[in-house]
């Protein structure tokens, strides 16, 4: 059914599709591990996508665009933090509000700035992240088996893809090998204990939400300035929610998050490549493939395959004294 080159192409597509999921998933991981549920990943990615494209277009530099995207995403993350940490509001409602705010604001501002109907003009040249050719990719592409893997699959992505995959061991190290990580995880499980130890719960949670903003910003910038050449309204198209599904699927752990995102990306890539899959008489329609990430998440949540236990203090605003 699939020859080697086709497999490489599908995996290449998997990497591209999994990268925004992975960044958003890690963003959610920091936030939720610190006890702040965040369903506003989608909204943060969307504002980042818009501002990165807009600033990259105006300045002609994609790096300024990336910074603007991260800034905008952090602003919304700060808003979420203000609502759910400082004012102890409902984290889910704050997240929903952020999604609505992002969907409306991006189109409104885009229309006001560019008058192109809620989109940014097309980016070209240095206003886009261009693919990076890894050294010797061209020379090695002739080597059987490993050549195509190196030249097609590993090489030729934009720098943000490599950053996303490096963020996985980075996150693991930060969470499990540093004092900050220990405290961050503790604040999601038992904030009272952290408080008793004299560490600021509010400070740690704001830090987590801030990191979440940075990662969502990179994810949005990747969509608008690396995969695409500009912003189109609602271009995140539900990726923030698939990332949340991946986070639950991975049971809030970094390495597993990467595999979950790759799996979901792979399912998408397969669905894009083959509309209907014929398995010896049984035809799997493309809709099943599109729905699989959600189905798998429900299966996990229902406890059929291990148990997904969220951080214990997740969703609870911390009140020092009652």
């Amino acid at each position: 059914m699939m020859d080697f080159m086709t497999l490489i192409q599908v995996l290449d597509s998997t990497v591209r599709l999994a990268t925004p999921l992975l960044l958003a998933c890690l963003a959610g991981l920091y936030s939720e591990r610190a006890g702040i549920f965040d369903i506003g990943l989608e909204g943060k990615m969307l504002v980042a996508a818009f501002f990165s494209a807009a600033i990259a277009y105006v300045s002609g530099s994609v790096w300024l665009g990336l910074l603007a995207g991260i800034g905008a995403s952090m602003l919304l993350a700060g808003l979420h933090g203000l609502a759910s940490i400082t004012f102890r509001g409902n984290q889910l409602i704050s997240g929903v509000a952020i999604n609505f705010l992002a969907a409306g604001m991006t189109v409104l501002i885009a229309q006001d700035w560019f008058q192109q109907g809620g989109r940014t003009p097309s980016l070209a040249g240095n206003a886009r992240f261009n693919p990076i050719e890894l050294p010797f990719a061209e020379a090695l592409s002739g080597v059987p088996f490993f050549g195509p893997i190196y030249a097609e699959l590993l090489s030729g992505h934009s720098i943000l893809v490599y950053i996303a995959f490096l963020a996985v061991p980075g996150t693991w190290w930060l969470l499990y090998r540093t004092r900050f990580g220990l405290r961050l995880r503790a604040v999601g499980e038992n904030p009272a204990a952290v408080d008793t130890a004299g560490v600021s719960v509010v400070g740690l949670r704001y830090a987590a939400v801030g990191i979440c903003g940075i990662l969502c910003g990179i994810a949005g910038a990747y969509l608008a300035t690396a995969l695409q050449a500009g912003f189109v309204k609602d271009m995140t198209a539900g990726r923030g929610f698939i990332a949340l599904a991946a986070l639950i699927f991975a049971k809030w752990r970094p390495w597993q998050a990467m595999w979950a995102c790759l799996l979901f990306g792979f399912l998408q890539a397969i669905a894009l490549r083959y509309q209907n899959i014929d398995l010896g008489g049984v035809v799997i329609p493309v809709q099943v493939m599109d729905a699989l990430p959600y189905i798998l998440t429900v299966v996990i949540l229902a406890g059929f395959v291990g148990k997904a236990i969220p951080p214990r203090a997740g969703g609870e605003p911390y009140v020092k004294e009652r």
């Binding site: 086709t6 192409q9 597509s13 591209r16 599709l17 925004p20 189109v107 229309q111 192109q116 109907g117 809620g118 989109r119 097309s122 969509l223 995969l227 695409q228 050449a229 500009g230 189109v232 309204k233 609602d234 271009m235 198209a237 539900g238 998408q268 890539a269 894009l272 490549r273 509309q275 493309v286 809709q287 599109d290």
Partner: protein, 334 residues
């Protein structure tokens, strides 16, 4: 007091007559959004042209969710707008439901279908398969690899209708041509997912396609972009999209929604209703775009062949099978 009363009465009746005289047309855009560079934007351009030519003004609303359809229709009808023009097949059911309550208001729906058309409703349908047939021919003639692609937006019969005409046109030129057809998705987000459009294009390129036809609203922006980046040709849809990547968009399948909206607004409250208007090649309702941006891509031979086929379809010598006829396509499986 009496003076006040009569004054009020005068003001009220004046306001009423003013309201009657200024029966503005209203235009409701579907979920794709007013500036989708495609279907809804064409409707907007038609309305804009009418406004500029007549100095009139029109009311408009861009829908944000499914739930607003009936509400928007009722609001415009209550406010005295006439005619109320809606774009998109999904409006057929709400229009049918609302029309009976406002017998004096004329409703227009583009792309919709109803079993029985109420007396104050006019449905406008386009022969998209005819226009797609012509761009399919052009695609097959421009293709060097013998493989061409089709990328649809949301998987609905209308979009299959586009794809089916395209495949028939391509097969007419080259019976052995290989057509790769993909749909972006099954929910309305499929109209606005350029990232997925790009991936689909890359997947089709890796299967050998060197011309891709995007009938996918905002998703098409990603298709055209990737096609331009990867150095293959693309075909735009609904509006003329040749200018988006000059020299890299082979042509665009024009669906003159703008003409339909313009004509409806021009006819105003007196327009004929109670039936179907079908706009095909003969009425210039559909066609293919040729301008400075793609002139170098279309050889004289291609132009002649397309114009020849156009005439034959109008004369009935070539019959393009509509997907709707038996809910399947003779030359393409989806």
């Amino acid at each position: 007091m009496t003076l006040m009363k009569s004054l009020m009465g005068a003001v009220a009746s004046f306001a009423l007559t003013a309201g009657m005289a200024l029966a503005e047309p209203a235009l409701i855009f579907d979920l794709g959004g007013k500036f989708d560079k495609s279907f809804n934007e064409a409707a907007f351009n038609g309305a804009q042209r009418w406004a500029e030519e007549t100095g009139g003004s029109f009311r408009e609303i861009e829908l944000q969710s499914e739930a607003q359809r009936e509400q928007a229709l009722r609001r415009f009808a209550e406010a005295g707008a006439n005619p109320v023009i809606t774009t998109g097949f999904a409006f057929a059911t709400p229009v049918e439901a609302v029309a009976g309550d406002y017998p004096d208001t004329k409703f227009v729906n583009i792309d919709g279908w109803m079993p029985e058309v109420p007396a104050n409703v006019q449905l406008i349908a386009f022969q998209e398969h005819q226009g797609s047939y012509l761009v399919g021919m052009l695609a097959a003639m421009a293709s060097k690899s013998g493989t061409i692609g089709f990328i649809g937006g949301m998987d609905i019969p209308l979009i299959r209708h586009f794809g089916c005409g395209y495949a028939q046109g391509a097969k007419a030129v080259n019976p052995d041509i290989n057509i790769v057809a993909n749909m972006t998705g099954t929910t309305p987000t499929a109209w606005n997912d350029p990232v997925k459009g790009s991936e689909l294009t890359k997947a089709q390129i890796s299967q050998g396609a060197d011309v891709v036809y995007a009938a996918a609203g905002g998703t098409g922006v990603g298709v055209l972009q990737t096609a331009a980046d990867e150095g293959i040709l693309s075909i735009g849809v609904d509006s003329n999209q040749n200018h988006m990547h000059p020299g890299k968009v082979l042509t665009s399948m024009l669906k003159r929604v703008d003409v339909a909206v313009y004509n409806s607004m021009k006819a105003g409250a007196d327009m004929e209703t109670g039936g179907f208007t079908v706009l095909g090649l003969a009425e210039e309702g559909v066609g293919w775009a040729l301008d400075d941006n793609n002139a170098s891509l279309i050889s004289d031979e291609m132009k002649m062949a397309a114009n020849d086929a156009r005439q034959k379809i109008i004369d009935g010598d070539i019959e393009v099978v509509a997907y709707y006829t038996n809910d399947s396509c003779p030359v393409l499986d989806f």
